[in-house]
Each structure stands twice: as C-alpha cells, then as structure tokens.
C-alpha cells in the first residue's frame, strides 16, 4: 500500500497526487497539519518521517522516500511500464533531471513567496521575485522553442513527462505569489495544455478546466 504524507495546499504534495492519479494508483493520504500546527517540524515527524522537516514523503510498503522530485522518479520508474513519464533514453533523462532541479528553484522562489503571503512565513521577497522571474523566463524560452516543434513538452518529449509535473504546480500557482504570468506566453500555453490533459486533477488555486 502506498501512503502519502500530504498537505492539501502544498504544490509539492499535489505533484505526487497528480502522478499517482495519472498512473491509476490507489494510495492513502495521511494529512499533515503543516499550517498552523507545523507538524512537519515536530519531533515525531523529524525522527520518524523526514529529518529535513519537509513534505511530501512517500511510503511504499516499508520503503520511505522524501523529496517530491525523488518520489516522481521512483513512482514513474516503478509503476509506469509504458515509460511515458520517465522515458529510458539518455538525453531525455538528462533533460528531465535538469528540470527536476529547476522545480527546486520554483520551490525556493514562488513557493517561498506564496507561503509568505498565505501563511505569514518569513521570506526575502526581492530575492524570491528575482529567482522566480529568472526561472520562469528560462521555462518560457525553452517552451517557446519546443512549441514550434512536435516535441512541445519541457524535456523535449511528445507527451508530458515528470519534468512537466515537477515544474507545473508552482508555475500555475504564481499568482498566489503575486507574480504576473502575462509576460510568459509560452508558459501560459503549457499550463493550459497541462490542465487539459485527459484525467487531470486540480488543487485549490489551480482550477479544474471542467468547472
């Protein structure tokens, strides 16, 4: 049985819910009181679940894995025999890994600013804004080139990969970090395309296109 240590408003938890759903896997959600309880920083959580005090954490049987991007790699490697999400190709995996690292830049910038505005957590907003715009600009430039070909997704694949899932939540939640996406048209087309993938599920702040 797969269990997900989860917080409803976390984009990093949401990306695992999204992949689990697309893979058709059933799993148990274990809600963690991230706010206001800061349960992810409790002694019990640090000792038994994740010493870094971060969400999400995935438990597959007795295998415990932290870090959203690591969990995406694990789930796609273990449960996607068709290899849509993590294709076994050297260049593709190289590019996917690059975007998994970029997803961490979005967490450090967009997610940090969003936590500041939503949960009154400390953040250096000027630094967050600068890194967010640099990262979104890189994504927009890449996507503009990809969209001119048939390989429209972030890692140059014909179908979305875990690179797209990793970067999607905090790009789509940018307005909650008071970041205007209007100057990133290719990025906006990509967000639209992600939301209209068959079987897409939403999270608070990212609307289900069916609504």
């Amino acid at each position: 049985m797969i269990r997900l240590y989860d917080y409803e408003l976390s984009g990093n938890c949401y990306k695992l819910r999204l992949l689990l759903h697309w893979l058709g896997l059933s799993y148990e959600r274990i809600p963690v009181d991230f706010h206001p309880g800061r349960e992810h920083r409790s002694a019990r959580f640090l000792q038994h679940i994740n010493p870094l005090g971060q969400l999400p954490v995935l438990a597959d049987g007795d295998f415990l894995l932290r870090d959203a991007q690591a969990c995406l790699v694990y789930l796609a490697s273990r449960y996607d025999p068709g290899q849509q999400w993590y294709p076994d190709d050297a260049r593709t995996r190289g590019r996917i890994t690059l975007w998994l690292a970029t997803a961490d830049d979005l967490t450090r910038s967009v997610a940090a600013a969003r936590q500041h505005y939503s949960f009154a957590m400390d953040a250096d907003i000027a630094r967050c804004d600068a890194l967010a715009h640099a990262t979104l600009r890189l994504m927009d430039d890449t996507l503009a080139e990809q969209q001119a070909s048939t390989r429209q997704w972030l890692a140059g694949t014909k179908l979305p990969s875990i690179a797209d899932i990793a970067c999607f939540p905090y790009a789509a939640l940018a307005s909650e970090a008071r970041i205007d996406l209007r100057r990133y048209p290719a990025l906006q087309r990509w967000i639209h395309a992600m939301r209209h993938q068959s079987g897409f599920i939403a999270m608070p702040g990212i609307l289900d296109p069916a609504l």
Binding site: D6, Y7, E8, L9, P31, V32, D33, H35, P36, G37, E39, Y117, S118, F119, A120, S175, E176, R178, M203, P204, G205, L207, D208, L211
Partner: protein
Amino acid sequence: MPFCTEDPNVRNDWLTIGAARALDGHTPKRPWHTRLLDNSLMAWRDTGGKASVQADGVRLPTLERYGYLWVWTGDGPPRPMFELPEFAEPGRRIVDCGGIGVATSGLRVIENFLDMGHFPYIHTGTLGRVPHTEVAPYRTHVDATTGEIWALDCHFFQPQASASAAGGIDAQYRYRVMQPFTAALYKSSPNRPGAQDVIGLFVQPLDDEHVIAHVLLVYYEDQLSDASMIAFQHMIFGQDKPILESQRPRRLPLSGPLEAHMRCDLASTTYRRWLRQRGMRFGVHTEETP
C-alpha cells in the same frame, strides 16, 4: 505609525490578530510580531500569563477569547465582546485552522462566506454539485439587541458537507455576522443529529485590500484528527482564495450598479445594506478609491 483608518466601524470594534497560541514562548524581550490596519503590532505574555499587545509603544486593550487574541484600537471604552456560547459547550471539539492571507478587502471575504450560490461551482463535490444549484428561499434579520445579522432557514444539498460526512445531505445552515469582519456559520452536524457545528471566520484586516482570514471550528467530532479537519477547511478556503483575489475592485462596492443582486444573494444584500447604514468606509470601494 498611526493606524490607516479612522473609520469607527473598525476602530470601535474588537479586531482579531490571530490565535492566542501564537504567543507561546514570547516575552517582552522577544515579542511576537504581526500587522493590523497597516500598523506593526508587538505581542507577548506577561509573567502572569496575560496577553499584552502594543502598537506605537502604547498598550491596546486586549482580550483572549475563543482561543483568539482581540484588540481594541479605538479611543473610547471597549464594548463587550460578542457571545459565542458554543465554544464552552461540553462535548464540542475546538480546532483552530489558522490564518490564510488573502489579497482583497475583508468585507469581500465575509460576503463570500455568506454566499451559498457559489458552492456547486467552486466547491464541486464537497459543498455542492451541479445540477443542485438552486438556493432555496431563506430569511434574514438584524437582531435589535445585538445589531448582528442572522440568515435563517438556509439549506443546500451538499455531497460532502464536512471531513467526516459519509454521503450527500441537505445541510441546514444559519449564518451570523457579529461585526463587519467577524462571522459564523452554524450547520448540521453529521455526528450529532439535530445539533449544529459552528465555523467562526475572524478576519484580521492588514489594510483596505489585504487580510488574514482565520477559521475556527467548534464541532461535534471525536473521530478525525486535527490534521484531517484542517485539511478539509484549507481545501475549501484554498478554492475560494483565487476567486476572491481575482475580484475587481478589490474593495467592496456598497452602492450603485457595479454588481447586480438576485434573490439568492439575500444575505449578501443584507450585509451590504447593513454596512452602508453603518457608514462603513474602510475596505469599501468609492468613486474616490485610487
């Protein structure tokens, strides 16, 4: 720094600055910081355990009530705090869901809270579901003694009315507005037939267009963890937040043809009329709003 408004509807009222437990571990030397009406506040617990809140070097009248801190920023003597007797009822569970920042007027946050019409579209599968979109007639009145608004005899079909609801129910609702930035909802308790759970919405105005919205649950519930109950409320509030932040103008219009009203908006219409009659200015859109 002075507070950013002189509006007596705000200054002569109890305003929340967050959950009382935020002060845990804070002393005069190591105060807790927050903001209210575009001003910085420092708060701590005295050695006797009493909550102290200071703005501009001056102590504000402070109450610790319903698990929350309330301050009075007006010049006159504070009036009594509104009553929430359910908070002390035996058998009820108190769960603080914390505050979430929203970039809009607090008046819009309260108005959205009073609106059942958006349930099927924004809270699909929980508080509503298409095609059950009709808001049945209900009534509102302003209590002559307390001046509070009540919306009574509300009911709405809800596929999952709360974290513990096992199936769809026709949820019975009562709404109450105690102060311009303070409201409560009473709804059918899935765990105790005939009783009502209470959700308090306490809005901390940071300025005319930014707030922290605090949610307090006063429930009959002995199965679910705090984290599960909070997750449900955060899901609901997280769905409202982008809608609230996209509304323009950010401040609430109280007059003119800016936004049309329908029968289903009775609570909203009553709230706006109540604000207009009080001469509300803070958080209100006017022709002069920049």
